[in-house]
Amino acid sequence: MSISSQSDLVSAEISPHEFSQLWRASRRESLGRAWYKFSRNPLSLIGAGTVLFVIILAVFAPYIAPYPEHVKPFTDFANASNPPSSSHWFGTDEIGRDILSRIIFGYRFSLTMGLVVLSIVVPVGVFLGLVAGYFQHTWFDTIIMRITDIFLAVPPLILALSVASILERNLLNSMLAVCLTWWPWYTRLVYGITTGLRNEFFVTSAEITGASKFHILFREILPNCISPVFTKMSLDMGWVIIIGASLSFVGLGVQPPNPDLGTMVAAGRRYLPDEWWMSVFPALAIVLVVLGFNLFGDGLRDLFAAENS
């Protein structure tokens, strides 16, 4: 749009109401464009669909699962170890519980795990990264970044396993263990972005007009971190779920009889290969959700990359 051809529009006559309408229209337009770009990649769409599907399963588990009572203490030895059939699509386990129902409820634990972990880890990690990055070369930066280096040097699964093993075995503690291993990734990510942005002229300009540190960190720099952080969150959901499942798999996470995908794989493993459905379906369920979040995250990343170019 040319500068001069529009100057007849310059007038304060337009009311604030009209402005907010214009703004909403432009917002709608950019959201529309974003969706258009996102939807051009079939894999991102599949990812988004899978994620949505799993979320619906988890939220409406009691209405969707064919045998909701099978997630409580329940035994039905008459129907134990049945292979997949029309009444039990994914078969039953060694004490007669419907595997499909338990998977659907299992997603509740997986997603809760992911959500709780990320909602603790992201704010903490982002905050530390912002502050350390903005106050680069100060003692705060040194301490925080050394600590993250130490954490990042240890593989997350091993760290989570060792932390979880010294605590009491329950869902809460396994979440705590994963949280401890996960925040440094966000600190690192945001630290990198912040150290790049603190020398950008828009930050400098705010500084020299007298803006507060709070304004600079949270109004100027933070908005620029949101896209990469969201992308990483989506990619991480899958990984957190895998780590949570792994903890349950070795008996450190969700305790029976609660249905967790990792626990189910672990329990079913003993009946391989004859009664394969007991471990294979829960394992596939894990793959599905992890893949879904990863594809979705990749889609988001491409979208943000296209937006910035």
């Binding site: 770009k37 051009r40 296209a306």
Partner: protein
């Protein structure tokens, strides 16, 4: 010069880029001719398609996203676009070489200057070169570009050189093979004025001495004023005007050329003009008719619908604008 056969002839070249969410219709029928020994300039705002033209001419257009939709590029009468990779490599790097805006990007940081020369010279001599000969030729090339102490310089790495020296090394490399055509894409833009002046003067003298043809691409009119014989003005993927350089500067005809010339601040004073309002169009939906009509102050009805053909106003002075069409000629002047 006109009676000789052209060295390079770009005919009605059309190049698009296929990108996420659309097709950028960048080059819209570019015509450009270079005669042997001639110095030709190509100017236009950033984004008007100069680099795309040059890359296509050298067959180094990235495909995808680039697509050549039409036209031909005749080098000594043979169509480069139809050549096999082998035939192409006989031309490119031997008879036709290039210099880029950013000399750092053209040099590989992990090799020293001599190692940078080696593949270039070997390629040009079809590998029949001993290391000694390479060394000798490289020394000569560095002497050509007035670099002192070439022996020591050949052992230096790109980061050890200043910007001006790097660009000289690139020029030396491009001319070491004694090509017939050199395409220089903004060779001085990344440099300071005093160094740009030196680099351009050097390039100019060397090209004269070796009788190499050159296409000098730039967005700065001052750079071409003192260097080239003939000047092409490009706007949004079209050549809008071509004339001998001095004539174009003294009598620009296309409203875009006039705007550009007017916008250059003059050392002799006289204030700064408003420039050209608006900006280069969005290539996914370029304006119909004359692509410049959205920014033109002389726009007429026909400009909005029909692409103007080239009108030859004088011998060698062509302009693609209806103001100079047969009907308008008397009225406009």
């Amino acid at each position: 010069m006109v009676n000789k056969a052209p060295l390079l002839e770009i005919k009605n070249l059309r190049v698009h880029y296929k990108v996420y969410g659309g097709v950028l219709k960048v080059l819209d029928g570019v015509n450009l001719t270079v005669y042997p020994g001639e110095k030709v300039g190509l100017v236009g705002e950033t984004g008007c398609g100069k680099t795309t033209t040059m890359k296509t001419a050298l067959a180094i257009l990235p495909v995808p996203p680039g697509v050549v939709v039409g036209g031909e590029i005749l080098y000594k009468g043979r169509n480069l676009l139809a050549m096999s990779p082998r035939q192409l490599s006989n031309v490119r790097g031997r008879e036709m070489t290039m210099i880029f805006q950013d000399p750092m990007a053209a040099l590989n940081p992990v090799f020293n200057v001599e190692q940078q020369f080696t593949p270039v010279l070997k390629h040009a001599a079809k590998n029949h070169l001993s290391n000694k000969e390479i060394h000798a030729q490289a020394v000569l090339a560095l002497q050509d570009v007035a670099l002192a102490d070439p022996e020591r310089l050949l052992q230096a790495y790109p980061i050890q050189l200043s910007g001006g020296m790097r660009q000289r090394v690139c020029i030396g490399m491009a001319l070491a093979t004694r090509p017939q055509l050199l395409i220089a894409d903004e060779p001085g833009t990344a440099l300071d004025v005093t160094i740009q002046a030196q680099v351009l003067r050097l390039l100019n003298n060397l090209v004269d001495r070796l009788n190499t043809s050159i296409i000098l691409i730039t967005h700065s009119l001052g750079v071409v004023y003192e260097t080239v014989d003939r000047l092409y003005v490009m706007y949004a993927g079209n050549i809008v005007e071509v004339a001998p350089t001095r004539k174009l500067f003294s009598n620009p005809l296309h409203p875009y050329s006039q705007g550009l010339m007017d916008a250059v601040p003059k050392l002799s004073g006289g204030g700064i003009s408003q420039g050209i309002s608006g900006r280069i169009p969005d290539y996914s939906h370029p304006p119909a008719g004359c692509r410049f009509h959205t920014r033109c102050s002389h726009v007429m009805e026909i400009c909005r619908h029909q692409k103007p053909p080239e009108f030859e106003v004088e011998e060698g002075h062509k302009v693609a604008c209806y103001l100079y069409g047969p009907k308008n000629q008397e009225a406009a002047v």
